[in-house]
Amino acid sequence: MKHPRDLTLAEMVASIREKDLTSTEIIESCLEAVDLHEKTLNAFISLDREKVLSQSRMIDGAGKKTDESFLCGAPVGVKDLIDVSGERTTSGSSFFKNAAAASTDANVIRTLKKNGAVLFGKTNLHEFAWGGTTENPHFGNCKNPWNPGHSPGGSSGGSAAAVASRMVPAALGTDTLGSIRIPSSFCGIVGLKPTYGLVPTTGVFPLGYTFDHVGPMARTTADARLLFNAMIDRNRRQRLEQKAESTRPTRPAGKGSRRLQGLKIGFLAALVPEQSCHETVYRQFRLAFDFAADEGAQIVEEKFPGMDMALFVGYIMTLAQAAEIHHERLAVDPKGFGDDVRELLESGHFIGAVDYIRAQRVRAKLVLEAKALMKRVDAWILPTTPTPASSIGGPVDANLAMFTGPINVLGFPAVALPSGLTEDRLPVSIQIIAGPFDEYLLLEIARVFEDRFVFPKDPPDWVKTHPA
């Protein structure tokens, strides 16, 4: 039997518009999924059922949906790093476990409310978003819906687990060195890190101001686009539409044709050492280029000298910025942090101004190189993570952010897209990167790959077999 919660976000919105379902019926179905799975997955830090239902009843009662109400009362999870008025923002930290409720909405939440979203709980995360596993000592470890013995990735692990397990069709994540895309990769969903600055970060607790992004996480590229559009105002959407119309000589055509005809896709072999990747990750990464060529794209072998330094730049600047942000807390109550986060914050204090300035200058050089690359290609592809989800409590791949972190340093948009399953049935993912403000092109390209990769449309195995 298909439940309303099994619908994609786009299908939910269409069902509400067509009056086949109400927002409240969808919310109730999602709450049933929470009853089934939350005890095991621990994807939410807080979820006030009455508050969620009152939002849906209000939207249902309002009747006529305006054009602005893109989401018509469909539910969206919110990473608990983002302020929602009247709700506590814990940032996954002991310091804010009993904090007062936020008095105002983050900018992105205000826009989402205006666009008809029902805010469906605050999702679990790695403490202060400073880590890639969502193993959280203060609120409990979040689990991966494909195998609860494994990490969902992080830091937006709760959002990814909630979406993959169908507790909610889509959710907000934040991404400083990969925190949307890493959990999207581990949980087999789509995650978009937009162009730096495009989605406002006002009201979002910072990790590293220079690299922080807010973005959508969903099960399909169409849903990621729908939520992304609901996160930004009309001016920004128009700007992106104008860019999409004006800068591409050939648009990807409709389904069934060579949909990437006229596009140049970059293959930067030197950035992806085979020995650093799980065999399925690498095989599916290479397969993406076969698909691209088959769809009419021109594959262009490219180089990006110095790109191997980008992650170092990301680490130096994020370590220092995070250390400054948490300086007083670290001085007063160092034991209030989990061991891993405390070590990172202490280390940040040992980055000198000289090192920081050098990192900024290297960054300036890398951004220039990247802009030059984007004059030669329309998009390029990397794996999202070099390995699939790690075991909870087990060793974490030291290179986890090797493909995601560099893109934050550039500020370019990137989308993580499921590309297959390992023999152990854990998801792997490719990452597609485009130039600033090319989100729509990026998602169109991703949609073509989504059609080509054989990734299960059904819920994860554990969710399917979990007793009702």
């Binding site: 730096y196 204090h349 290297v362």
Partner: protein, 65 residues
């Protein structure tokens, strides 16, 4: 002066407390101190002549609110 003591002294200079155990953990071979040393050295191998520091990217020209 032992590196461990230097690290603790520097931490004190930065107004954060650091016990001996933490300092030793940071300094253990292959751990954070070594990694930072490696990263810093690598960044200083890059020729950045002609480039000034880039902090906030200007893609959105300040319109981020």
């Amino acid at each position: 002066m032992k590196r461990r003591d230097f690290v603790r002294m520097f931490a004190e200079f930065q107004n954060i407390s650091m016990d001996r155990e933490t300092a030793e953990k940071l300094l253990a071979p292959g751990r954070m101190w070594d990694q930072l040393d490696f990263i810093k050295a690598a960044l200083f191998q890059i020729d950045v002549s002609g480039f000034t520091p880039a902090d906030d990217l200007d893609y959105f020209q300040g319109d981020r609110k």
